[in-house]
C-alpha cells in the first residue's frame, strides 16, 4: 500500500512527459503509474525510460529479443500467463505490474534455476565485481543453493590463447550464438543437443574457424564466454625482481575503463598510468606511440603501392600484346591495400581468404610496434638488456592475445609483447588490489616515448586507422612541403555505419577508400574489391571501442559515447597527424641504421591457414 501511495504522490508532483504529437504515443500504466510510451516500444524500454527497474539476463540491445531467461516477466491485467517485458510491445490501456506475487514467484524461481546452471567461481572470477547474477541474487534475496549445480561435468572450450567458453558457467542465454552467428556471421559457435543437455560448442565444420574477436565474451552476461585470463601471469611478472616491467595502454581503453568503476565514459589516461604504477609496473607507455609508427609505415606503403601499381598499368598499356597476369604482381604493388591492425581480421583473411594476404599491409600493429620500439630503441637508450624487459599491453581485445604470440613477430628471439590483458582484466587487478581508481592523481606516461598525435588516438574507433593514414599520406606524398595544404578531418570515414566509402585525392591521384565496421559486413566489400584502393577492416562493431575485451557492458549507446570521446580528444590535441610526432620520426630514423632490424620491428608476414592442420593453424606459442 505504502508503495502505491508513494507512486501516486510522485505522479501528482511530476507532470507526465507526453510527446507533443498526440497520436504518436500510447498510454499505459506500470505499477499504477501512468506512462506515455512510444507505440513500438517494448514494456522493458517503456519501464526503463520511466526509471522502473525490470531485471533480465538474456537480452542485449545488439540483438533481437529472445525472451528465454523469463526473468523479466510482468503481469498484464486480463492475461492469465505472465508476459516477458523484453519481447512484449506496449498496447493502448495496458495495465502492467512488475511487483505482483505472481511475478515475484516466477522471477525468483527462474533466477534460482539459472543459478543452478552456473557453477560459481567467484573468488577468481573477474566478472564478480559486476556480475549480473550476483546482483539479482542479492536484490531479490535468492536462495542460490536451492538446487544442486547441474553442469559440473561440462567442458571448457579454449580458442587459441584468446577466448574460452566454460560450459560449467553457461546459463544457455544464447547471446554468444547471436554474437558469433548473427552479428559477426562467423558461425563458429553452435548449439548442440536438446533440452537440458544443450550445449554451446565450437563447430565441427573444418571450413569454419574462430577469429578470436571475443564478441561472445563481451555479450555473455555471466562470464561463461570470456577471455583466457593472463592477469595471473602478469602478477607473477610484477613480483619478479629481475624483470623490468613495462605496461602499454591501447588508445580505446582510456575512454572505457572508467565505466568499470561507475565513472562513465571519459578519457582517463592519467589515472590508468597511476593505477598501473601502483600495481607495480616500472614504466608505462602509450600504444598511441606505436600507432603513430604504424601510421607512418602504413601511409608510406600505401603511397608506394599506388605508385608501383600505376607504373605497372602504364607498362601494360605500352605492351598491349601481353596478357596481364595478376600473379606476376609483386606484393607491394597489389591494390587495394588493406589494414592489418585488427588481429581478428588478419586471422579472418588467413583462414577464409588467404588470396588476400598480398593485399594486407606489411605494417605491424600498434601494440607490436610499441613493444618492438621498447625492446630495441628504448632498451638501447636506457642501456637495459631487452631480455630482462617484460612488456604487458592493456587491450580492448581478445584477439590481441593471439597476435602477441605469433611466432613471426619475434625480434631477435624476443616477443615484442609478452602478455596481453583486457580492459576487464586490468579493472579486476585494480579492484583486487583495492586501488581507489576514481581518486587517483593523474600521472603522465614515461618519456621519451610519450608523444602522440590525435590520429593515434582515433585508432580506437572504426575509420580511425584509415583517417590517420590519409592525414599522413598526403604529407608524405607532397614534394614541396611548404606549399601543400593538408587535410586533417576525413569525416566521411567516421561513424558507426557498417560500410563507409569515399574518394580522396592524394598527390593528384584519386584513392577510393572503404571502411568496414564489423566483420559481419565484410562480404559486400570482398565481392567488390576491384572498386577500391585502400580498405580498413575492424572485426568488432565500432572498432576497438566495441572490442571483445572491452568494459562490460558494451552496447550501441556506449560504443557511440566512447567514439565521441575519442574524436573530441583528437580535435583538441595540438598535434593531429603522425608525421608531426618528432619522437616517432627520431625512432624511425634510428632504425634506418640497421635495415634488418628495421624490417624486423616494423614489418610482418602472414600465414595461409586455410589448409593447415589444427596445430599448425594456430602457429603460436601456447602458454
Amino acid at each position: 500500500m505504502s508503495i502505491q501511495k508513494k507512486d501516486k504522490k510522485e505522479l501528482n508532483k511530476t507532470s507526465l512527459k507526453i510527446p507533443k504529437k498526440v497520436d504518436n504515443f500510447v498510454k499505459i500504466k506500470i505499477n499504477d503509474k501512468e506512462i506515455a510510451s512510444a507505440p513500438d516500444e517494448t514494456i522493458f524500454v517503456a519501464a526503463m525510460k520511466n526509471d522502473i527497474y525490470i531485471p533480465g539476463l538474456c537480452g542485449h540491445p545488439d540483438f533481437c529479443a529472445k525472451a528465454n531467461c523469463r526473468i523479466c516477466v510482468v503481469e498484464i491485467k486480463g492475461r492469465k500467463a505472465l508476459a516477458t517485458a523484453c519481447s512484449t510491445k506496449v498496447e493502448k490501456g495496458m495495465e502492467i505490474r512488475t511487483d505482483s506475487d505472481q511475478v515475484r514467484k516466477a522471477r525468483n524461481t527462474n533466477i534460482e534455476l539459472v543459478f543452478a546452471e552456473h557453477i560459481e567461481r567467484c573468488p577468481t572470477c573477474i566478472w564478480r565485481v559486476n556480475c549480473k547474477l550476483l546482483d539479482l541474487a542479492d536484490r531479490y534475496k535468492i536462495e542460490i543453493a536451492h538446487f544442486r549445480d547441474r553442469k559440473a561435468n561440462r567442458k571448457n572450450y579454449k580458442f587459441a590463447n584468446s577466448v574460452e567458453i566454460d560450459g560449467t558457467q553457461c546459463i544457455d542465454c544464447r547471446n554468444c550464438l547471436d554474437a558469433c552467428n548473427s552479428m559477426q556471421k562467423i558461425n563458429y559457435l553452435e548449439l548442440r543437443g536438446k533440452g537440458a543437455d544443450q550445449e554451446v560448442v565450437p563447430t565441427s565444420n573444418k571450413d569454419i574457424d574462430c577469429i578470436y574477436c571475443g564478441q561472445c565474451a563481451v555479450h555473455c552476461p555471466v562470464g561463461s564466454a570470456q577471455e583466457q585470463a593472463h592477469w595471473g601471469l602478469v602478477e607473477k611478472a610484477l613480483t619478479d625482481k629481475r624483470k623490468i616491467t613495462v605496461a602499454m595502454l591501447a588508445p580505446s581503453i582510456r575512454v572505457s575503463i572508467g565505466e568499470e568503476f561507475g565513472l562513465g565514459t571519459k578519457v582517463m589516461t592519467g589515472q590508468i598510468v597511476a593505477a598501473l604504477k601502483q600495481l607495480g609496473f616500472d614504466y608505462v607507455f602509450d600504444v598511441n606511440f606505436g600507432a603513430d609508427i604504424t601510421t607512418m609505415v602504413e601511409a608510406g606503403e600505401l603511397l608506394e603501392r599506388v605508385k608501383k601499381n600505376q607504373e605497372e598499368k602504364e607498362k601494360l598499356q605500352k605492351s598491349k600484346n601481353k596478357i596481364p597476369n595478376s600473379k606476376s604482381q609483386i606484393p607491394n604493388s597489389v591494390l587495394p591495400m588493406i589494414t592489418s591492425c585488427c588481429p581478428a581480421w588478419v586471422k579472418y583473411v588467413e583462414f577464409y581468404h588467404p588470396e588476400l594476404i598480398p593485399n594486407l599491409t606489411t605494417a605491424r600493429s600498434p601494440q607490436i610496434h610499441c613493444g618492438g620500439a621498447v625492446k630495441t630503441y628504448w632498451a638501447d637508450l636506457k642501456k637495459i638488456n631487452p631480455k630482462n624487459i617484460t612488456t604487458v599491453s592493456v587491450m580492448p581485445c581478445t584477439a590481441k592475445k593471439f597476435e602477441s604470440n605469433r611466432k613471426e613477430l619475434k625480434i631477435d628471439g624476443m616477443w615484442p609483447v609478452d602478455y596481453v590483458i583486457t580492459v576487464r582484466e586490468l579493472a579486476w587487478m585494480i579492484k583486487k588490489n583495492k586501488i581507489n581508481f576514481g581518486k587517483l592523481k593523474n600521472q603522465t606516461v614515461d618519456n621519451p616515448l610519450d608523444e602522440h598525435s590525435g590520429s593515434a588516438l582515433i585508432y580506437g574507433t572504426s575509420g580511425g586507422v584509415m583517417e590517420s593514414a590519409l592525414r599522413s599520406a598526403e604529407y608524405l606524398a607532397c614534394k614541396n612541403k611548404k606549399k601543400c595544404d593538408f587535410k586533417v578531418d576525413f569525416k566521411e570515414v567516421r561513424g558507426l555505419a557498417g560500410v563507409k566509402e569515399t574518394v580522396v585525392e592524394i598527390n593528384k591521384v584519386k584513392i577510393r577508400v572503404a571502411v568496414v565496421n564489423c566483420i559481419g559486413n565484410i562480404d559486400q566489400i570482398i565481392e567488390n574489391l576491384h572498386n577500391y584502393d585502400y580498405i580498413e577492416v575492424m572485426a568488432c562493431p565500432g572498432g576497438c571501442i566495441g572490442g571483445g575485451g572491452q568494459a562490460y557492458p558494451t552496447t550501441p549507446e556506449i560504443r557511440k559515447k566512447r567514439m565521441e570521446a575519442l574524436y573530441k580528444t583528437d580535435k583538441n590535441l595540438p598535434m593531429r597527424s603522425a608525421f608531426e610526432n618528432k619522437e616517432v620520426l627520431k625512432v624511425l630514423s634510428w632504425f634506418k641504421k640497421d635495415p634488418k632490424l628495421e624490417h624486423e620491428v616494423l614489418h610482418t608476414s602472414y600465414i595461409n591457414r586455410k589448409n593447415l592442420n589444427a596445430l599448425d593453424k594456430l602457429n603460436i606459442k601456447i602458454m
Binding site: A65, K66, A67, N68, C69, R70, I71, V73, K80, A81, L82, S87, Q102, K105, A106, T109, N110, L113, V114, A116, E117, H146, F147, R148, R150, D172, L191, G193, K194, G195, A196, D197, Q198
Partner: protein, 354 residues
C-alpha cells in the same frame, strides 16, 4: 458456393485442439499482404496416444490432398499470388506414405512438396512455429509470437497451417458431406482400442460406451494425449469429448501414482527444446525431484506454477496439466498416503491447473 462460404456455413473449427475457426485463419492469411503464400499441412502428430493422422493418411489421403488444394486455390486469387503447399510429416509417416502421396500430387499436378521432419524434431517439432523453423532448416524450436504465421510464416510469407484432420474435413465441407465428426483414438487398459470416427457432440462417457470401451473396473482416463492431456476420474466423464482427439484408459490397480508422474515428467524433459528457463530447467528439476525418492512438494508446486505462468510456448505450459489434474482428480482415489502430499501444496498445485 465457394469454399469459404461453405466453411462458414458449417462453422468448421481446427482439429488441432485449439478449436480455432478455420474461416478466420484462412481469411487472415488471404488479407495479409504478400505475393507469395504458403499452405502447410501438419502431419507430424507427436502427442503419444493420438493416432488419427496415421489413420487419415492411410485411409483418406485423397481427401487430405483435396483439402490442401482448396486452401491453395483460395489463396491464389486468379494467379496474382504465388502459392505453395507443404505436407509436413514425421519420419515414420514419411517412410510409410511419401511414395503414394507424391504419386497423387504428381497426377494432379499440384504445387505441393512433402517435408520429412527429422527424428530429432520430436514432439516440439509438431508445434506450428517449430515446424516453420524445421522447413526453413533452422533449429527446431518454437518462435516468439507475435508475429504470427498468418502474416509472417514460412520464410516470412503469410502461411496457413492446419493439421491433417482439418484438411480432411475441409474436403468434406466442400462436398457438403460434413457431419462434424471427430477422430478419437482410444487406448490403454481396454480391449476395443483403435481410431473411431464419432460425432463431435458426444460426451467422453458416451464415446467409451459406444465403442464398448467403458471399463467395469476402477479406472481413470487421460484425454487429449498421453503427454499433455487432462486426467479425469470416472465421475467426470459427462463433459463433451469434443476435440480431445484421444482417450486413454488407466486401471487404478495397474498404475502407481509416482510411476505416472515419472512417466509424464520424463516425456516433457526429453521433449523440451531447451529454449526457456521454466521448461528446460523446470522439467529437469521435476525429474530430479520425482526420482529422488523424497519429494519436496513445495518445490514441485513452485516449478509447476512457474511452468504455466512463465513458459515460452505451449509445451511448457502443458507440463502441469497431466500432473496437476492427476493430483486434483485422481490421486485421492489412491488414499492420502500414496504421495504423502501436504494439503497446502496440494492446493497450490491444483491452482496452477486452473
Amino acid at each position: 458456393m465457394e469454399i469459404m462460404a461453405r466453411i462458414k456455413k458449417f462453422g468448421l473449427v481446427g482439429r488441432g485442439g485449439g478449436c480455432y475457426p478455420v474461416a478466420s485463419k484462412w481469411d487472415s492469411v488471404k488479407k495479409a499482404a504478400g505475393e507469395k503464400k504458403y499452405v502447410v499441412c501438419n502431419g507430424s502428430e507427436g502427442e503419444p496416444g493420438v493416432e488419427k493422422d496415421n489413420y487419415i493418411l492411410a485411409n483418406y489421403s485423397d481427401k487430405l490432398i483435396e483439402g490442401i488444394r482448396l486452401a491453395l486455390d483460395y489463396l491464389r486469387e486468379n494467379g496474382r499470388v504465388e502459392v505453395f503447399g507443404y505436407i509436413y510429416l514425421n519420419d515414420e509417416f514419411y517412410k510409410k506414405y511419401s511414395k503414394s502421396l507424391n504419386e497423387k500430387i504428381a497426377s494432379l499436378n499440384l504445387p505441393i512438396s512433402l517435408f520429412c521432419k527429422p527424428h530429432i524434431g520430436g514432439y516440439i517439432g509438431g508445434e506450428e512455429t517449430s515446424l516453420l523453423n524445421a522447413i526453413e532448416g533452422r533449429r527446431i524450436e518454437p518462435r516468439l509470437r507475435p508475429p504470427y504465421p498468418n502474416t509472417f510464416g514460412l520464410w516470412g510469407h503469410p502461411t496457413i497451417i492446419n493439421n491433417v484432420e482439418t484438411f480432411y474435413n475441409v474436403s468434406l465441407v466442400n462436398e457438403e458431406k460434413f457431419e462434424n465428426k471427430r477422430f478419437y483414438t482410444i487406448r490403454g487398459d481396454s480391449l476395443w482400442t483403435g481410431v473411431f470416427d464419432l460425432p463431435d457432440s458426444m460426451s467422453i462417457e458416451q464415446v467409451l460406451k459406444q465403442t464398448k470401451n467403458y471399463p467395469d473396473f476402477p479406472f481413470f482416463v487421460q484425454v487429449g494425449g498421453e503427454g499433455s492431456g487432462v486426467v479425469l476420474n470416472s465421475d467426470q466423464l459427462n463433459m463433451p469429448a469434443s476435440g480431445c482427439a484421444s482417450i486413454t484408459i488407466y486401471s487404478v490397480q495397474k498404475h502407481q501414482p509416482i510411476e505416472l508422474l515419472k512417466k509424464w515428467v520424463d516425456f516433457f524433459s526429453s521433449e523440451s527444446c531447451g529454449q526457456c528457463v521454466p521448461c528446460r530447467e523446470g522439467t529437469y528439476r521435476l525429474k530430479e525431484i520425482f526420482y529422488s525418492g523424497k519429494i519436496n512438494w513445495t518445490l514441485v508446486s513452485e516449478l509447476l506454477s512457474n511452468l504455466s505462468d512463465a513458459s515460452l510456448c505451449g509445451l511448457g505450459c502443458a507440463v502441469p496439466i497431466p500432473i496437476a489434474s492427476f493430483i486434483k482428480n485422481v490421486a485421492p482415489l489412491y488414499g492420502d498416503q500414496s504421495l504423502s502430499l501436504p494439503e497446502e501444496n496440494r492446493k497450490m498445485i491444483c491452482e496452477c491447473f486452473g
